[in-house]
Structures are given as structure tokens and as C-alpha cells.
Symmetry: C2
Subunit: 390 residues, 2 copies
């Protein structure tokens, strides 16, 4: 044994707690094995964050064993031994000859593992939303005695309620987000290219803050006048000048967990329109925060925002956010009208109030928040203002 398990972000008991939740869901769905292929769900259940999900790999949870088995390509097995909480015999490497091989691939190895472990004649859960149609078909065809059950999003729904340990990591991610928002204000000035601002933001997201580096990069979305009506451009070589408005969305990352934040900047004094929109949006943000507490629904929070800004003369068409954690957006609930998902303590959301109002005008503000026992904790702490660069 040359490479041993490295420092872990969470104690073993935390992973076993998460696996117990998955097992109880497996019992409910009457499956004996669950093949998890969504890379963020694998991170959640093992600690593994290396970037190998572009080739087949899968985590197999058996109803009968304590630790899951992680089946991945040989080249990535050492990183798994280093990062995963499991014992090293639970890291199962498949040969490199299966990469780019049109006949046999890593999914065949997962199927063989299921057969060898007597899991091939019962209910087997798969995540069809992270598999190709061909891969799902392979599971059905090669495991004719088993019942293949699509359990897409089952683990993602478990992830929506965080442990205190996870929230602590997200606080660290949020501190990195705040540092990057403040750094952006320091490096903007008339004459600078957007891209140079982006470079400094990324460097901050990597270096982290308070001695805690970022663990991975999340893409930033940055736009400046006249493109501030767009939401998902990265950056350009536009030169900022007096009067430029800049909309920015970014997120720090710790151990895979992300905390998103949006702020708006102005080179020189903010325009009257920007000031007015900012005031209305902050009023809406405060109303939304006031609406957060256990027992309320996602819809309640969204409508608190919508109703407040409508009273003040503004509308927002898009949703008001989504659950956030590993890999940024967790595709489960939405902070939108009609989503009756009930808020529970330690759910975390990106309360995303970006508002792309006209073709050439938008405004961005957001916070990463946690539902507490009695209300809300805002994890991101950067000043809730338009940053005016003088």
C-alpha cells in the first residue's frame, strides 16, 4: 500500500449517515442495489471529486453491505483510494482497454460486479438521467433477471437537506464567494478589460480565503453594458468605461460544495434606473428572506419576492432560485410559483434574484441561504449594494 487515504472533508460517520438515507430510500423502492452514476451524487456519498466523469464509472450501494463499491477506470483508481472514505478494496479498477472501446465499456464491469455479488436477480436502481439511452439499455439487456428501476434524482432529493457539517463547509465556500465579489470591485476601473477582471476573480476563487483554498472552480457569469440583459455569458475583451454596468455571478467551492452570489457594479455613479431597480430588488430580497422558515413552501418564498417588487412597479419572469450544494444547482425543487416543496431546517438555496428586464438592461443580486429552525441564515455576506467604482 503506497498511496493511502488522504485527509477527509467529513468523518466516516457522516458518509455512513448519508448512505443510510439512500438505503432507506432503496427499501422503499424495493431495490437491492443502486448504481449511482451522477458525479455529484458520487461526491456526496464518497468524497471523490476528481474529474473523471467523462468516462463510465459507477458507485454501487448494496442493501447488504456497509460500504459502497466504486467501479472506475484504472487510471483514476489511485485518486479514488486517496479521496474516498471507503476501504481500498472497495475501489475497483477496470482496464484502460475499455476506454474508447466500441464493444465493451465500464458499464459492463459494473454489470459483472452486480452479477458476482449476487445482485443481478433483484431490483436494481439506476440514474437514467445521468446515463445514455444506450447505457440504460445495456443494463436491461445484460441483467434480464433483474428489475431495473429508474431512481433518477432520488439521491439529489436526499441532498436537499444538509447536515451541520455540510453547512459548515458551505459557510467556507460562501466566504470565498464574498472574497471574490470584493476583489472584483478592487480590480475594476475605466479602461480595464472584462477579461482581466475575470482573471483576478478566478485567482481569488482558487486561492480562497482565511487559509482555506477553493477546491474546484465554478464558472463565473459576467456581462457588462450593453450586454447586461444576458445571464450566462462568461466574459469578453470589452473594455469597461465610465458608465459601464457590470453584472456578476460567481461561486466559491469547498470540497465540491458551492455557494453562489450575484452583485451588480457600476463604473462611476450608478444610473438612476439602476438605483431604483436596486432598491426595489433589495426590498424584494428582504421580503423573500422574511418568508423563509420551516413549514413554508418554495412557492411562498418566490411569491413574497414577486408580490413585493410588483407593488413597487417591477416584474421578474424567471424563478427565484434553487437548492444549492455539491456542483452548484441541485436539480430538485425551485423557488417558483406553484412549487409546494416544504422548507425544512438545513435546506440550502441560491436565492437568485437576477432580473433580465429589457434586452439591454438587467440587474443581478443573490444570496446563498440556509433554512434554520426558526427562519433563515444568509451564508453569503458581501455588502448588499451596487458597487460603485470611483
Amino acid at each position: 500500500m503506497v498511496v493511502a487515504r488522504g485527509p477527509q472533508p467529513f468523518p466516516r460517520g457522516e458518509y455512513l449517515r448519508r448512505i443510510a438515507l439512500v438505503k432507506s430510500e432503496m427499501a422503499r423502492r424495493e431495490i437491492d442495489a443502486f448504481v449511482i452514476t451522477d458525479q455529484h451524487n458520487i461526491t456526496y456519498l464518497t468524497g471523490y471529486t476528481a474529474l473523471s466523469a467523462y468516462v463510465p464509472q459507477g458507485l454501487v450501494i448494496s442493501a447488504h453491505g456497509e460500504e459502497p463499491a466504486f467501479i472506475l477506470r484504472r487510471q483514476d483508481a489511485i485518486a479514488a483510494i486517496y479521496q474516498c472514505f471507503m476501504e481500498r478494496d472497495k475501489i475497483i479498477a477496470y482496464p484502460e482497454a475499455l476506454i474508447g472501446n466500441p464493444e465493451t465499456d465500464g458499464y459492463d464491469c459494473i454489470i459483472e460486479y452486480l452479477e458476482e455479488n449476487c445482485l443481478a436477480r433483484r431490483g436494481i436502481g439506476v440514474e437514467a438521467n445521468s446515463l445514455s439511452v444506450q447505457a440504460v439499455e445495456k443494463f436491461r439487456k445484460r441483467l434480464p433477471a433483474a428489475t431495473i428501476v429508474d431512481c433518477s434524482a432520488a439521491v439529489t432529493w436526499i441532498r436537499i437537506v444538509k447536515s451541520d457539517l455540510e453547512i459548515e463547509v458551505m459557510r467556507d465556500a460562501a466566504a470565498i464567494s464574498d472574497a471574490a465579489i470584493l476583489r472584483a470591485a478592487e480590480v475594476m476601473y475605466p479602461g480595464v478589460r472584462e477579461v482581466d477582471v475575470a482573471a483576478e476573480i478566478y485567482a481569488t476563487l482558487v486561492r480562497g480565503t482565511h487559509g482555506k483554498p477553493g477546491s474546484a472552480l465554478e464558472y463565473i457569469n459576467m456581462s457588462s453594458s450593453p450586454l447586461i440583459g444576458t445571464s450566462h455569458l462568461t466574459w469578453s475583451d470589452h473594455i469597461l468605461s465610465n458608465g459601464s454596468q457590470i453584472n456578476l455571478e460567481l461561486g466559491g467551492n469547498r470540497y465540491g460544495y458551492c455557494a453562489g452570489i450575484m452583485r451588480t457594479y457600476s463604473i462611476g455613479r450608478a444610473s438612476d434606473r439602476l438605483r431604483q431597480v436596486h432598491e426595489v430588488q433589495v426590498a424584494g430580497l428582504e421580503a423573500a428572506l422574511d418568508a423563509v422558515r420551516p413549514g413554508r413552501t418554495c412557492s411562498d418564498v418566490a411569491n413574497a419576492f414577486y408580490r413585493t417588487i410588483e407593488k413597487l412597479g417591477l416584474k421578474k419572469e424567471s424563478r427565484c432560485g434553487y437548492p444549492i450544494g455539491i456542483g452548484w444547482l441541485e436539480p430538485t425543487a425551485s423557488l417558483r410559483d406553484g412549487d409546494v416543496t416544504e422548507l425544512k431546517p438545513n435546506m440550502a438555496f441560491h436565492l437568485m434574484l437576477g432580473n433580465w428586464i429589457d434586452e439591454d438592461f438587467g440587474y443581478t443580486i443573490s444570496e446563498t441561504i440556509r433554512v434554520t429552525e426558526t427562519g433563515v441564515e444568509v451564508l453569503t455576506k458581501a455588502p448588499r449594494k451596487v458597487f460603485e467604482i470611483s
Copy 2:
């Protein structure tokens, strides 16, 4: 019209050329419409690079029209108007109410577009490998009179041969890659954290070189002793010290096109083992480059490498690379034994010779190359050496 089309990386004729190639493939497969959902294929056919692929969107190519139609969420439509080569009436926005909506989503809008444009009763191509099983099922169910044909990878195979214009963009991407490799050597020293080196590399990848900024970030893979037997870790807070070896893989990006490169670094003099492995691997690299020319196969190139290093006492288990372009790896051919894909002029590959030999020892070297009329052009130009940091 407030936001107009922005500066384009390629002339209109280049996009029409690409679309003509797709249409000829459509004719071969007897389909009248092709719904393209792979984000890199959408970039290839439109110029769109904004980061909106986490929600449903699709480009519809009709056998009968010149320009394709891009159907995406309202919030992203302005970025599409700005980035795509098509006229603005070909950007079709669907309402925000469909985001996070369990009943109806963007795919329903694509289906309605097909119906409204009389494409719902014929052959329709989809990319099943970039769609969930549920989405494919929706196409089949809601378009009962059509024949749904899985055309996964059809466009990706077209992308494998680049135009001269694309190669020119990849040269610019490769220059950024080279700059980042050299910058890494400048910022490594005993006592520095891996993460601080990573921050400088990312800043360089964003700023670009020769006045041409990076257009997007590609993840870097960095590992240092004793984890140099791993291939896909990002970075850690390990402190580099005398004797540390660092393996690095990174890629510059221009307009979505990427050029990958790997190099190995040593703090202080390289160990004898590292020097020996480097010499063998460079000999293998040169043999592989010598083997590149039109008419040879992917297998020929890989075997030139394998045979050369085997003669010199080394083995490599993993493949020797893959086609590269938009979004880094193009999942089509592989530089591996037995892959008889024939090399053609202007195919581009990441000749990836990273070799993870022991659990605690690996070595990385690679180049991004182009097949020429008579041989090979190496796009990446950083010195082909172990960077010794004194």
C-alpha cells in the same frame, strides 16, 4: 432591435459549410429535421458559447431551410441573438415558467416548433447521448407520426476534420496553453502551495496571450508528489518542496476551441527515474509524431508510441489520445490499438502520453497536433522538457 449580433469568430459561410455537412448526413440517414442538444455541437453550428446547457435547449436543422432555429429559454435568448450567426428571428425563446416545471419543459417547445414547421410527420434525428431517457421518450410519444432516429455523435464525427479557420483558432488556443505552461514554471518554488500555482495558471488561461484572451476555462489537472500516480485531481493545498514532482495538464480556449498540453515539473533536479522516463517518453512521442500522416490510422500512431517505449523498457496502459476541438475531448475516435479510423488532413488530436506507471509515480507529456497534407503540425510549442525549478 436593441442588442444586435456581436463580433463573430467565423464568417457566415463557415457556419453554412458546417451545416451543409450536417444536411448531407441527414439525407444519408433519411431525416428531415435534426434536433441538436449537445452543447458543443450547438457551438459548432452557431457560435453560441453561453453557459445555459443545464436547462433544455435545442438547435433544429431542417433539410429545407438555410439557417437553423435555436430554441432556448427566454433568459438566454439575448445572448443567443448576440452570439449566433443566424438572423434574430431564428432565436426562439420559450417562457421562464417552463424552468423547473415538472409538467412542461423546453423540449415541449421544440416539439411544437417541429409541428408548426411541418417536420412532425417525417424522420427526426435526436442526440440520445445528450438527452435523458425521459426526454427521448417525450419526443417519441408526442411525435407519433414521426420516425425518431438516434443520431448521437453524427455531428461530433463531422467535427473531427477542421477547416483552416478552425485550425487558426486552435493555434491561438495552443499559444494560451503554452503561456500557461511557462507561467507555471515561473510561480513554482519550494514553499509555495499547489493552489497558488493553480491560481496563476487560471489567471493566465483567462488573460490569454498576444492580445487574444481565453474565451472559457478548461479545468486543469495538477498533482504533486506523492500523488503523481493520479491523473484527474484538480489541485490541493499541498506545499511544494525540494524534490517535489508536479504533473500538469491544462488547455487554453478560444471561442470554445481547446488545445490541451501536459508537462512535468521538478522542484530542484529531476530524479534519475524521472529523467529516464522522460527520455523514453519523448522518444515515443517523436515516433508517434513521425507516424502521423493521411492514410495512417489512429492505431498506427498509438502503436508507434507503444512499440518505441516498450523497446526502451516502459509500458503505457492507457490510450494515447483523442480528437480535440470544441469542449476539449471529442468523443469519437481514440489513439488506441485497434482503432482503424483513418487520419485525414486537418484532423486535430490531443496526443496524450501521460503515463501513470506506479501507484505513486506517473509522468505527463502531451501535445495538441494537426494532421497536415503530408505529416503533422504540432500546435503546442512549449519546450519538450522536464521543467526543473532551481
